[in-house]
């Protein structure tokens, strides 16, 4: 099954979106957690401050007989319980305020004689609270009372409950919610706890009194929720912007690829002249486009060459057929003399031979092109092959009074012998054909650094610089008039090239017009011929 879409653009988009989502989610979550943490810490610090303040107000029972004394003496008189976190930062308390006793303070304050702990019900009015509930009285200074005023805001809305060591509720602030539990655990155990929207600090003092200070964090929670919502909205906005931007960027990045594929499609449809318009050549896609254009050029050239080859081949094949047809038709159209018949038949024979030669050459080329493996490719003595070619062509050379010379050092190369003979014969007959009367053709073989080299030098008409790059092309003739009449097909050198290259060799030509040409064939030498001296100076 395929999960990712095929289009690169959409895949980019998808990855981009996923990445953006992860980043935004991580960022939003971190921000949210940090804000929440800081809020909680602030509440916790306030709680701690109040626990400390409250702890000072509790008289330890072990040193006093009655709670009243303790109350009367005030926090300054008797030994006090150590605060859990006295002197903690954020709780500076000026000394002057500590001493200021102002009873009967506002509705949020607490009366000096503390009432007994209520039995669970709400405690709306501090004055109305019952007298006593345990052995301990709790005296709150106005400043301490102030800490527990009702209302909203970061400094208000705190409540407290004080529990006797036995677990009974000694006292609680009027705004304390129901069900405030005593601190758990033994002495000095203190911890934060959450009950619904309530955040509480539970503290058990040395005397075993339990102090719980708490605050409703409902507003904070609501605010945090709002924050989360805003973060989500902002993240969604950024995500949408990011996706849109990403889509634009992806589209821009993909556009050259679209252009390339559109061009390639046009070329595939047959418009070979089409090329990719290259905007920036430095980018990766620009370079790709350049490479593709170069490939298209080569393809186009190959197609053009193929088309030319087909046209040339059909032309070359049709001409002899036209000769045979026209000769036969005219000669048969009426009674002719024996001489005329003979002439026509000779013309037909020439045309037929030409056809045979052409078809043989074309078949050879086709076989070489197909890359079908040759039957045998044992080591061949190249010098002997060259000598055989010279022997075969001696009559032709004599006919055109061209001198044949040889400098054949023994060298062996791999390859089918008949093909190599064809190479030598084609090169030498070419050299004879394009020579001048009294000229010479020199054939040399030699071993040269791992290569068997066959060189054919003629003193003929040479090849013009303009024609030189084309001499190995099929049906190329520098001068058609000279060659057509003498039965040359224009395939000889291309066959040489095809054979040599099929054996892993290379053929090259140097020429100067009017002075002659030098064809050099390099073939991989057979292993046993590497030590043969470079050239035999005796035969020059």
């Amino acid at each position: 099954m395929r999960i990712l879409p095929r289009s690169i653009r959409w895949r980019l988009q998808l990855w981009h979106g996923a990445l953006l989502f992860v980043v935004l989610a991580a960022f939003g979550l971190t921000s949210f957690l940090l804000v929440r943490e800081s809020r909680l810490r602030r509440v916790d610090q306030e709680l701690l401050r109040r626990v400390a303040a409250l702890a000072t107000a509790i008289r330890p029972p072990v040193h006093r007989e009655g709670p009243r004394d303790g109350v009367r003496d005030g926090p300054r008189g008797g030994p006090r319980e150590r605060l859990p976190d006295e002197g903690a930062p954020g709780q500076p308390r000026p000394d002057g305020e500590r001493g200021g006793v102002r009873p009967g303070r506002g509705p949020g304050g607490f009366p000096r004689p503390p009432g007994p702990a209520p039995d669970g019900g709400p405690v709306p009015v501090p004055e109305g609270a019952p007298g006593r509930a345990g052995p301990q009285d709790i005296l709150l200074l106005p400043a301490q009372e102030e800490l527990f005023r009702a209302g909203e805001g970061p400094d208000a809305g705190f409540y407290f409950a004080v529990f006797a060591p036995s677990g009974g509720l000694l006292r609680r602030s009027p705004n304390a919610p129901d069900g405030v539990g005593a601190p758990e655990g033994g002495f000095f155990n203190e911890y934060f706890r959450n009950r619904g929207d309530l955040r509480e600090r539970a503290h058990r003092s040395r005397g075993g009194f339990g102090i719980v200070v708490g605050k409703s964090v409902a507003s904070d929670v609501a605010e945090l929720r709002r924050l989360a919502l805003w973060l989500a909205v902002a993240a969604a906005g950024v995500m949408a912007l990011g996706l849109a931007g990403g889509s634009w960027v992806a589209a821009r990045a993909i556009r050259p690829i679209d252009a390339i594929s559109a061009t390639a499609q046009k070329i595939a449809a047959g418009d070979l002249a089409e090329r990719i318009a290259i905007a920036g050549t430095d980018s990766e896609l620009g370079r790709l486009a350049q490479v593709l254009n170069a490939t298209f050029d080569r393809l186009c050239d190959a197609f053009a060459r193929q088309a030319r080859f087909t046209a040339d081949a059909s032309h070359e094949l049709r001409t002899p057929v036209a000769v045979i047809l026209s000769q036969a038709e005219t000669i048969l159209s009426r009674e002719r003399t024996t001489g005329e018949y003979r002439e026509a038949l000779e013309a037909c024979r020439r045309a037929a031979r030409r056809l045979r030669h052409l078809t043989d050459s074309l078949l050879t080329l086709a076989r070489l092109d197909s890359g079908a493996p040759e039957e045998e490719a044992g080591p061949v003595a190249l010098d002997r092959v060259a000598a055989e070619a010279l022997e075969l062509l001696r009559p032709l050379a004599a006919e055109t009074s061209v001198r044949l010379e040889a400098g054949l050092a023994p060298v062996r190369c791999a390859g089918p012998e008949d093909r190599l003979l064809q190479v030598a014969v084609n090169l030498v007959s070419n050299a004879i054909h394009y020579n001048r009367p009294g000229g010479s053709v020199t054939v040399r073989t030699a071993g040269e650094g791992g290569a068997a080299v066959l060189t054919v030098v003629d003193t003929g008409i040479g090849i013009g610089a303009a024609d030189l790059p084309h001499v190995f092309e099929r049906f190329f003739r520098a001068d058609p008039s000279r060659s057509r009449a003498s039965g040359r097909t224009g395939l000889g050198l291309s066959i040489v090239k095809a054979i040599v290259e099929s054996q892993g060799g290379a053929v090259s030509v140097e020429s100067r017009e009017g002075e002659g040409s030098t064809f050099t064939v390099r073939l991989p030498a057979a292993a046993d011929s590497l030590l043969v001296p470079r050239e035999d100076p005796a035969v020059q």
Binding site: A311, S314, H315, R318, A322, S326, T330, P480, S481, A485
Partner: protein, 216 residues
């Protein structure tokens, strides 16, 4: 009718020339482009058979240059049969296009059609002065009877008939009836004209003294 054949393949040229001469055309030949253009520009041939792949100068170039001076009908003979080549040939000023290898009968028919059209006579039969000339069968009939004419006599009648009403000079007649290889004697034309008059009637061909001959 005088025809120029420009073709570099000697055996093919020989076959074409023999076929044309068998039809009593006067035939000139060129085996090379520059020579071919020179001949084509120098003489008022009735038709030119032109190969495209030629040494010296290719057929397209010959056609292009020839069209600057002459409107001789040209039949392009080539082994290139791609549509593009044919279109190029016809657009380049060729009047017809024949792909090698071709049947000689077709080639001859196309040559006849070219000559006819070149003279502004699209029909293969011409009737004049009681005689009917069959350009396809190369015969002249009078009252339903075929009049025996020698090839050269027929060619003379045909040329004058194709240019009916025009006075044709002796030189022009020589040019069109005799190839470059023919030995022409100055009085040969008079002999032919007199023979034609014997066979088709004395006033079939009018003599305009000092100008030439004419069929009215």
């Amino acid at each position: 009718m005088r025809i120029l054949v420009i073709e570099d393949e000697p055996d093919l040229l020989a076959g074409i020339v023999r076929a044309l001469r068998d039809e009593d055309y006067a035939v000139d030949t060129a085996v090379e482009g520059v020579d071919g253009l020179f001949k084509a520009e120098s003489w008022a041939y009735d038709a030119i058979l032109l190969d495209i792949m030629l040494p010296g100068m290719d057929g397209w170039e010959i056609l292009r240059r020839l069209r600057q001076t002459r409107k001789t009908p040209v039949l392009v003979l080539t082994a290139r049969d791609a549509i593009r080549d044919r279109v190029r040939g016809l657009d380049g000023g060729a009047d017809d296009y024949l792909t090698k290898p071709f049947d000689l009968a077709e080639m001859l028919a196309r040559v006849r059609a070219l000559i006819r059209r070149g003279a502004g006579k699209p029909l293969p039969r011409i009737e004049l002065r009681g005689a009917e000339i069959d350009l396809g069968g190369r015969t002249v009939a009078r009252a339903g009877e075929t009049v025996p004419l020698t090839p050269r006599e027929y060619a003379l009648v045909e040329y004058l008939a194709l240019h009916r009403g025009q006075v044709i000079s002796r030189t022009e007649l020589y040019d069109h009836l005799f190839g470059e290889d023919d030995d022409t004697m100055s009085n040969l034309l008079d002999v032919h004209v007199s023979n034609i008059r014997k066979k088709l009637g004395h006033d079939f061909i009018a003599t305009r003294r000092g100008h030439g001959y004419c069929i009215e």
